[in-house]
Symmetry: C2
Subunit: 341 residues, 2 copies
């Protein structure tokens, strides 16, 4: 059969149509639809491409694909106060009848009096006392029930929605996209491991065994019926913050992650540790610079220093000098929450 010029035109037209369809199809399957085009989105897409394309020099076998995510301020709102601290304060009210002495004893007295000024000045020691008083002395199963019940009912005051609605939609997309590309996604949080595990699977698609957090030194003992139970004593085993993050990542995983998302000085060492693993790595830091849609705080780049989830100028400078990517909530995120239309 002779190929005529008309045939060639037909073929060419077909290729053009297919090409257009192809591009349309790619656009329809944007894995990160809540992200604006820009350096942050590009860094994520490039990293996923490089590590999952077999022909790439940065290819990473599926069994080595691990990504770690801080939670407070990285996956959900941490302002004006960590949700878990709200949970602890509300537990003080629930438990107060069993502790009449709390009415006259700090730090409980201020919580029960709803003395916001005093609470804002709580030291770490005060918070620890409240956390131990409200989070320990029960079985692990009892704690799961208490935490689950609270999360189902409690609401944030600004948005009048459950705290679990206040997860960042762009980050939910990142978690899903990483898992779609056979990355194991881990939450590595300064928050309580068992608290976060009580909702992480439902909210983030992250099962309990993929949540690494601050954890109590659990105690196995026998109850009156001779049944073994795991009790929660007022003793911390893992303080999963700052240097604790790389220490606990190695304890749980025995390796460096390939990608990491954080937002504060508590994540600095985990970011460094990821980069130190070598090969293809992705270090991301969320900067809260969107007072309108969420909150604005740093103090990096002159944003207010609110003491919660601090992103210092020194950390910002380290990020820039080491080639970590700073995500601007304001510029990089098309929307912040799933409930925004």
């Amino acid at each position: 059969m002779e190929i005529t010029r008309r045939d060639l035109i037909k073929v060419s037209a077909t290729i053009t149509v297919l090409g257009t369809l192809g591009r349309a199809s790619v656009a329809a399957h944007d894995p990160l639809p809540s992200w604006n085009d820009g350096p942050s989105k590009e860094a994520i897409l490039d990293f996923i491409h490089d590590t999952t394309d077999k022909s790439s020099s940065k290819f990473v076998p599926a069994e080595e694909r691990f990504a770690t995510f801080d939670q407070d301020g990285t996956l959900w709102v941490e302002h004006p106060i960590y949700s878990q601290v709200m949970f602890a304060f509300e537990r003080v009210f629930v438990l107060a009848p069993q502790h009449p002495e709390w009415k006259t004893t700090e730090p409980f007295k201020s919580v029960l009096a709803d003395d916001k000024e005093a609470m804002a000045k709580f030291t770490l020691r005060d918070l620890e006392e409240i956390l131990f008083a409200t989070h320990t002395g029960m079985t692990v199963e009892s704690f799961q029930t208490i935490a689950t019940d609270w999360t189902a009912k409690a609401k944030d005051q600004r948005w009048k929605r459950p705290y679990t609605d206040l997860v960042y939609q762009p980050m939910i997309e990142v978690l899903r996209y990483f898992r779609e590309k056979e990355f194991k996604t881990y939450i590595v949080t300064g928050g309580g491991q068992d608290f976060v595990r009580s909702y992480a699977e439902r909210v983030y698609g992250v099962p309990p065994q993929n949540v690494i957090g601050s954890a109590l030194d659990l105690h196995y003992e026998y109850d009156k019926e001779g049944q073994g139970v795991l009790m929660r004593p007022p003793k911390l085993l893992l303080n999963n913050n700052l240097s604790g993050k790389p220490e606990d990542i190695y304890l749980f995983l025995g390796r460096h992650p390939k990608a990491v998302f954080g937002n504060s000085t508590g994540d600095q060492q985990m970011e460094e540790f990821t980069q130190a693993g070598g090969g293809a790595t992705l270090m991301m830091m969320v900067l809260h610079d969107d007072a309108q849609r969420e909150y604005a705080y740093g103090p990096a780049r002159g944003l207010p220093d609110t003491k919660v989830g601090t992103f210092t100028q020194a950390l910002y400078d380290e990020a820039k000098s080491k080639g970590w990517n700073v995500i601007s909530m304001k510029n990089d995120w098309k929307r912040v929450f799933a409930f925004e239309q």
Copy 2:
């Protein structure tokens, strides 16, 4: 078309042939070929059937399928001395030139003199001193290299083979079968977590993040070049034995396992904890009653008490009274090692 008697005979013959092939095919696919028929093999097969057949009342969704395995004496030989202790003793020789004082200081003196009588009397404190002296003071990466090098070269004296050849073939089949049925298989060992992680993937198909073991309180610090490194200090964080096993399983997984394999008093609480999770559960205990092919020790059922991996009569009685299954190496295992033909 009329169906003749001859047609029916043909169809019937075909069905018979297919049926035979079907059975042959089932036999060819016995997932546990190194196990003799008997109550232990039956308990495993029944458990897997019940938990993975959607029509079963004991069905367990794939995301809840977790099985935990002790290592020493359950997955590989622990007699006459734990491999990791052999590793520590050999490290004493390697490090001795840097520690001239060891020649005259116990417990190192006895190790260097190869004084077997003295070594047999080492207390836990002696062993801890040797483990700390040989396992700490380096980065996590250095330790991986040292451990990997040793495992590649070291040989057991009885079989003249690498320790990693001394894994029980019937248990390798169990690990594989569980994973084939979408169970996540975890090693939960009193041995050092990082030591076991150095070979577990190659030997058992269990990746580092699925090994839970005794672990040091790692320390993240900065080296002379300002690079963050994870150091191994002489301080234990997790003593993953006895009550430590359920405590650490919950720390890592946030749940009860569905199946458990152990062999000594160190596994008792992990067996109890699995059963306490309720629903479909499988509790298995390996009894070393095969002096010929491996070793015989208890002291359950009058077997000698060798102090390593003790299976007491009290534990045996608890197992029987609670419906746990005791595996007789002698009767239940067709062969012990892969290198046996």
